[in-house]
Symmetry: C2
Subunit: 343 residues, 2 copies
DNA sequence: CATGCCTTTCAAAGCGCTTTGATTCGAACA
DNA sequence: TGTTCGAATCAAAGCGCTTTGAAAGGCATG
């Protein structure tokens, strides 16, 4: 059933029917009621392609996510992020267009999104330092909100981020207060903006106490379980091993935990662990008692808030760039304890 | 830049330009070359909405995934599945439309996908037994391929599935061969078709050896780390605890492992674990040495194959339902060993 | 040179909607 | 009774593309 058919059934013009369905005022309540009734009866819903061709709006938000060769991992937080955004999208009648692209095709993808007119705006995932995509999107004139920030970019843009620096500074301070002096940092790729900020917070806390920063117990790599596991074995085999480890993802934290236990050591006694926790639904940090002491900020909530910001921007409800900085909360779990007395 | 503009620059009709760009034969090589050059120079790409309005095709595949209230978890394998499908989609010039819906809105969503004309076909995720969506999609005439199968549905439809029954039968046999007689099963929700089949395989192997099936050491719930953890504590506290546990997901397997170790027991000696492994990129089953003995089938590969099947179907390259049954491979890791001699 | 037949190109219609600018109708007023 | 005005409705144009059916051009044939 299309508009034409519907209007013929009703014996009215397409104009009137269209107006009635879209809530315009220049149609009497009586006819509107009738039109709505008949539309429902015939299960009519407008062809979204035709509608967007006519209006120029698509009611679609683009999400571009990266996938490397088959060895590289897919962003594990995307699922929860999009679940949070999904609620907003359906409430506001937006659809999601998902593009899975290799890094080399990324720019091309954003350009195509614009010129092909598939989306009204995009969410920029995983910003890197000096991320060139920001300039690109500004040049294209495609509305966007960054999930994170991009150090080094001076122009104004919209973003939603967690205070990563503060979170890792706090976590490090917490460990120092427990007496730890040798603290490892297992971070994401340094090129990622969040990793950069986290390292910065970590270093700030160490420096404030005059503790030396030692690259030997720091890592910057994909935050998988296996990497956490391998790195833990490495640093614990050093002549001067860390007594605490700070990890950037609960996924790698599980690997750390596993390695510690495989070495016959006890988590929270021999080795303390603090992790950043995105609140992933399938990998919760315990149910009643937290497994790890963690700095936590829900990525699902981030998806929720960010999508609202983006839609407000697209609709023109706000003008100019907006930003929102969330604070992570530190929850103390079983994975931390006083630094062991050195033998 | 649009078609009209481009054709004016070229001094040709829109017809000719359109044909040249779409590779139709009724245009001379000379003009085609020229048109392609000018199109590239002006960075032209066709408006996808207009194109699909004109052709009736959308070059878009729909994926509908469920999200409950904010407590329920988002399907953790979706990311890897879509990464596998993504390669095919971009190679074939298809886009992805993602819908995040609550279970109650699911039927409405599929109907809307059809009547609003947003997609050419859909992937049906997470089929349940007697899944009503299959009948719905058939009624709507929307091409689809099921990722899994739906026991109880007798009509013909396209699907790609892993031989879940066989996989769990094999795994159970493997444990029995090691001397285990008391084997727990931590499965997904029983309503899910895959869980049903896995239980069936498990029971078949037990029955073949005359081992009694005991619901006390069986679970049917969300396959999260915490559920695996809690369930393990429960069954190991029983007067007659299992010596081996079979889990349906590597995520819950990690929880099982954690619980075993927290009780001071050793995995592979005191308690054996076999898990089903989807080959998730962020939660690999070890790198060199597998952590768990596992029946493995890559969900990424499934995404790859399934999307090819669906596109072939949409294009009309094949007629009638097609299906593909993948076998999971059993890899032996460190998590299994002979059943401990009872005290 | 006229005829016929490809090959190449074009004008125009159509996809399903929105929106502009016109038209109709009835009520209100002088 | 004629005029004015606002409310309700409509016909038609337009969004950017594809595709049908027609036309033009080139070339061999009789």
């Amino acid at each position: 059933m299309n508009l034409k058919g519907l209007s013929q059934i009703l014996g009215m013009s397409q104009t009137t029917v269209s107006r009635a369905l879209n809530g315009y005022p220049e149609v009497s309540e009586k006819t509107r009621k009738k039109i709505l009734a008949v539309a429902a009866e015939h299960n009519y819903s407008p062809n979204v392609r035709a509608k967007s061709l006519a209006t120029g709006r698509t009611n679609t938000i683009g999400h571009v996510i990266l996938t490397g060769d088959h060895h590289q991992m897919i962003n594990p937080i995307f699922g929860d992020f999009i679940a949070g955004a999904g609620d907003v999208y359906s409430a506001e009648n937006y659809e999601i267009s998902l593009s899975i692209v290799k890094e080399a095709d990324e720019e091309k993808t954003y350009r195509a999104l614009k010129t092909r007119g598939t989306v009204d705006g995009v969410v920029l995932h995983g910003p890197k330092m000096n991320d060139s995509r920001i300039g690109l999107l500004q040049e294209l004139g495609l509305p966007f909100v960054v999930h994170g920030r991009a150090s080094g970019i001076t122009s104004d843009y919209s973003w939603l981020d967690v205070n990563n620096t503060r979170a890792f500074q706090r976590a490090t301070e917490f460990l120092i207060d427990l007496g730890h002096r040798r603290i490892g940092l297992f971070n994401g790729f340094e090129a990622m903006d969040f990793a950069h900020r986290r390292r910065h917070g970590y270093e700030k806390a160490l420096q404030a106490q005059g503790i030396q920063i030692d690259p030997v117990i720091m890592r910057s790599e994909e935050m998988s379980d296996s990497n956490g596991y391998a790195a833990t074995h490495e640093v614990l085999s050093l002549p001067n091993p860390p007594t605490a480890i700070l990890t950037s993802s609960i996924i790698s934290a599980f690997g750390v935990r596993r390695a510690v236990q495989d070495r016959g050591l006890e988590v929270g006694r021999d080795v303390s662990i603090i992790t950043y926790d995105d609140g992933l639904s399938y990998l919760a940090n315990g149910v009643d008692v937290p497994i790890f002491t963690a700095t936590r900020s829900s990525v699902r909530e981030a998806g929720h808030l960010l999508s609202q910001m983006l839609i407000a921007q697209i609709k023109g409800d706000v003008t100019g760039p907006q930003s929102k900085l969330l604070e992570a909360e530190l929850t103390v779990g079983q994975s931390t304890g006083p630094a062991p007395v050195s033998a």
